[in-house]
Symmetry: C2
Subunit: 200 residues, 2 copies
Amino acid sequence: MAYRETAKTRAKADERRTRIEQAARHVIARGGIAAASIASVAREAGCSSGLIYTYYSSRDELLRVVFARAAGHELAVVEAAVESASNAADIVDSVVEVFVRRAVTGRTLAYALLLEAVPESVQIERMALRRGYVAAIASGIEGRYQTTTSAEVAARALVGSIAENLVDVLDPAKEPPSVSAVEALITELSVFARTAIGEQ
Amino acid sequence: MAYRETAKTRAKADERRTRIEQAARHVIARGGIAAASIASVAREAGCSSGLIYTYYSSRDELLRVVFARAAGHELAVVEAAVESASNAADIVDSVVEVFVRRAVTGRTLAYALLLEAVPESVQIERMALRRGYVAAIASGIEGRYQTTTSAEVAARALVGSIAENLVDVLDPAKEPPSVSAVEALITELSVFARTAIGEQ
DNA sequence: TAAACAATTGAAACACAATTCAATTCTTTG
DNA sequence: CAAAGAATTGAATTGTGTTTCAATTGTTTA
């Protein structure tokens, strides 16, 4: 008699949802959160503005979901780096390297994840990402090395040290850094971090 | 024949301007940049919204001026702490102590200065503040102590370490930290920072 | 194919603060 | 005091982007 929801229908809806999230991610990676208006995400996704509201209750909600997914991905990379390292010095080296290289490669996304002005709901996800980084590093350091201070303070300090040294590098108003500048930064941050946790 | 600008007039205008900036500072200290709408600053200053545009070309400009002044004050305090210290370990100790205590005492202002989402023009002032902190610390470290890494990277890392460890402390959604938690944080950050620069 | 209803559109409505400006109030000077 | 003009008001306007929803298009079933 009539149209009813079916597997095919649901699959198509899922695809649409995915397409919208991908579009939002692309727009953010290109121009930051500021560029991710409903209209521009819709344009990128090839749909109308209205349709986005079939999948998300508001712009903030869409941004929150997309941000959380991107953050989860970044965190997983850092967690993997921590896990594959064999001692505290290795951990901080890997974290510095992975963090800086990924930030430089995906400048605008990194800027959005770390520094850009974001709506409240997204800020909450950003805090969660930072807590995730800290937890990953702290757990890595804690088991294997007796630091002079609490692993949590040290882990936070490491995250802060890296992030602060990326501020200029990620500044959208500035030119991207040269390869040699990036290498130099990685080296110096590694030395600093190893010293900071009392290794070598 | 007519009314013309005079010393008294100018003095009154200056007073007005000062009153508006004070009002803006109060509003920000109470509720952050987000709370500093033109209407609420006007209410606090006891004048109309329109009058603010006699003194500032836009809300962003007002915020920029007020932020820059507050930032300058904070920076001067840190610079004084650096100058009064006699060696690298003293410098980092003083900076940690002054930074953390002031942040905790003026939580909302510190949040605005360091972490809150701000308009572009204010973000530029924030960057200047951070560069100021880095320069002050770096110059202090550089002359008196041979660090393992460049003084600039170390100074940035120190600023980042402190700021990151303040994130939870300053979160407006959270309770202010207990006195003992603040003391513990200062101690731990000091130990971390001294270790980081290679001093005991 | 027709009926039933879901998916999609996109222009209009809305929200919300910044900003403007005609009208009013205040100050100064001769 | 009256005229000139500056200071001030605050309601109306503007700008910008989100959100809605009546109308349209697409899909499914009998």
